[in-house]
């Protein structure tokens, strides 16, 4: 850690609003001033709440503005169901910002997201534009209703598996080359990104215990052998560095009481 200014915060963050972004997908805003100021694109927060599951749940920071941060989620289990039911003023324990974010250098960036993989992209668009990059965001989903209605950047491309909106096919197929390729989505999609752009920066999803580097639960298998931690060395990786067949491609969330 760099000395001096604290870089990690544990805050009680009151929920300030909730809005739909796609079928079953919602954006939740919460007041977390120190985190909102410190967070960089690709970093995440680990959230816990009273009466919630035992372990915290990791979420990419979707947007950060003034004193607020936003996360995007779908109901995938008991925990996210509780979070979605939280009322205005309900308090979420917010630990972050965590992990290593995107590295934004070049003249152009293409942001490729599949489904909930939109999560880090608005912040990535903000930081990329601030760094002087021209930003194209390619949004993919199975069908038009599941496409996130929100976007950012200079150009937006839509792609649906069933052709109900925009490009008929995957977001990876719809995307053009750029100096910087950022991607987030199902790990299977990220493996396809790695095939086409080995230098792409991908944000992976894993099960996570602590989020702070001590439990070693979020192991990411590396091509050079061994594992490192999605919460610490990740969640953003150079696509070519990951041993994709060894990374679980489907996370089952059926959990807890």
């Amino acid at each position: 850690m760099s000395g001096g200014r604290p870089s990690l915060f544990l805050l009680d963050a009151p929920v300030t609003s909730k809005r739909p972004a796609a079928r079953g997908m919602f954006v939740i805003s919460m007041r977390a001033p120190e985190i909102a100021r410190a967070v960089r694109a690709g970093q995440f927060v680990n959230l816990g709440w009273a009466g919630g599951p035992l372990l915290r749940r990791p979420f990419s920071v979707y947007r950060a503005e003034d004193d607020e941060i936003e996360v995007v989620l779908k109901s995938v289990g008991a925990g996210t169901e509780q979070l979605l039911a939280m009322k205005h003023g309900g308090v979420v324990s917010c630990l972050g910002p965590l992990g290593r974010g995107f590295d934004l250098k070049g003249k152009s960036a293409v942001l490729i997201s599949g489904g909930l993989g939109v999560a880090p992209m608005p912040l990535a668009a903000r930081d990329a534009k601030a760094a002087g990059l021209r930003v194209t965001w390619v949004h993919g989903a199975r069908t038009a209703a599941e496409l996130c209605a929100e976007s950012a950047g200079d150009e937006v491309v839509w792609a649906t598996d069933d052709g109900s909106k925009g490009f008929h096919g995957t977001a990876v197929a719809a995307a053009a080359d750029a100096d910087v390729v950022l991607a987030c989505g199902p790990n299977r999609m990220l493996a396809a990104v790695a095939e086409r752009w080995p230098e792409a920066q991908v944000a992976v999803e894993t099960y996570m215990g602590c989020g702070t580097g001590v439990c070693l639960g979020c192991a990411v298998p590396l091509k050079r052998g061994g594992y490192d931690r999605a919460c610490k060395e990740g969640p953003v990786y150079r696509a070519a560095d990951i041993d994709w067949p060894a990374l679980p491609s489907h996370l089952s969330y059926a959990v807890t009481a």
């Binding site: 850690m1 604290p6 870089s7 990690l8 915060f9 544990l10 816990g48 599951p53 035992l54 372990l55 915290r56 630990l95 894993t206 099960y207 996570m208 215990g209 602590c210 702070t212 580097g213 001590v214 439990c215 070693l216 639960g217 979020c218 192991a219 990411v220 298998p221 052998g225 061994g226 594992y227 610490k232 060894a246 990374l247 679980p248 489907h250 996370l251 089952s252 059926a254 959990v255 807890t256 009481a257």
Partner: protein, 304 residues
């Protein structure tokens, strides 16, 4: 009113009875928010003599009020521990014990010899109870002769405090407790995780790649209190209670049940300040009841 929380455990004088459990505090250097103010001692992540990659993911699965883990003792090996971590531990104001592992009694001995005398290492916690390694681990923990042999192998190589972390996966923990006491242990830690399994109903297979994992968290607390109590009744050396402690009342249950100190583990994943809160809560409990020292806390420990 301030309460004297100091306690002596198996050869170490500790400023408080709340310790960080192995594998849940890393090497103590990872998280700036982890509260070290009230820490009685830290037990570092389990280490083998040589580096280990650990098990493939998924490594963890949450279950009701608990979690299963199969990390497989991923670690950098003894040389890296001595080079990268021990020098930092030497500067801290609380002792660090190293959780040691091996695939044979002689490997435990060799590891002890490598670490003995290194500044920053105040003692050893012998892990004879890890459920997540193919060889060694649990095997040594459920056979009294093997448990004693490992303890002796470590004891011969060091004059530092030697603690032994017991597995709950035994029919009579008292038998193992007495065996390692006779072999020269200075304290016992009870208990390590229970072996558990959870099934992914979408994939028709276990949720962990290792199939099974160690269950920790509040789900195991009553089981752990009972086993720590059974161990404490069986021996004269101190017992450090472990299992699902998340708040001061949880810790006090272990202390009243006969433990001398406690370790907090999984709770730290959720709340980086858990150890400080448990420590402060115990002090507040004692103060509210007019006790000036932790030693005055009444214990329930009928001897067999």
């Amino acid at each position: 009113m301030s309460v004297d929380m100091a306690v002596a455990v198996g050869g170490l004088e500790l400023r408080g009875p709340v310790l960080a459990a192995s594998g849940t505090f890393g090497y103590g250097t990872e998280v700036p928010l982890l509260e070290r103010r009230a820490l009685g001692a830290m037990v570092s992540k389990g280490i083998f003599l040589r580096p280990r990659a650990g098990t493939p993911p998924p490594r963890i699965a949450e279950t009701p009020s608990g979690m299963l883990n199969a990390i497989g003792l991923q670690g950098p090996g003894a040389d890296a521990l001595v080079r990268d971590y021990a020098p930092r531990w030497a500067e801290w104001d609380f002792p660090v014990l190293v959780n040691i592992n091996g695939e044979s009694a002689s490997e435990y001995g060799e590891l002890t010899a490598r670490l003995d005398g290194v500044p920053g290492i105040a003692g050893f916690e012998i892990n004879i109870s890890c459920p997540n390694v193919e060889q060694g681990g649990l095997y040594f923990g459920n056979d009294p002769r093997a448990a004693a042999a490992v303890t002796e192998a470590v004891r011969r190589r060091t004059k530092l405090p030697v603690w032994v972390k017991l597995t709950p996966m035994v029919s009579d923990i008292g038998v193992i407790a007495r065996a390692v006491e006779s072999a020269g242990a200075d304290a016992l830690c009870a208990i390590n995780t229970f072996v558990g399994m959870s099934i992914d109903l979408n994939a028709y297979k276990p949720r962990l790649s290792f199939r099974t994992g160690g269950l920790s968290g509040p789900a195991i607390r009553p089981l752990a209190v009972h086993l720590a109590h059974q161990a404490a009744r069986a021996v004269r050396i101190p017992v450090v209670g472990i299992g699902g402690i998340a708040c001061a009342d949880d810790a006090l249950e272990f202390l009243v049940a006969g433990c001398t100190a406690v370790q907090v583990g999984t709770a730290t994943f959720v709340n980086p300040k858990a150890i400080a809160e448990v420590h402060d809560g115990i002090a507040a409990f004692l103060a509210a009841r007019g006790f000036a020292t932790l030693a005055e806390l009444p214990r329930y420990l009928p001897r067999d």
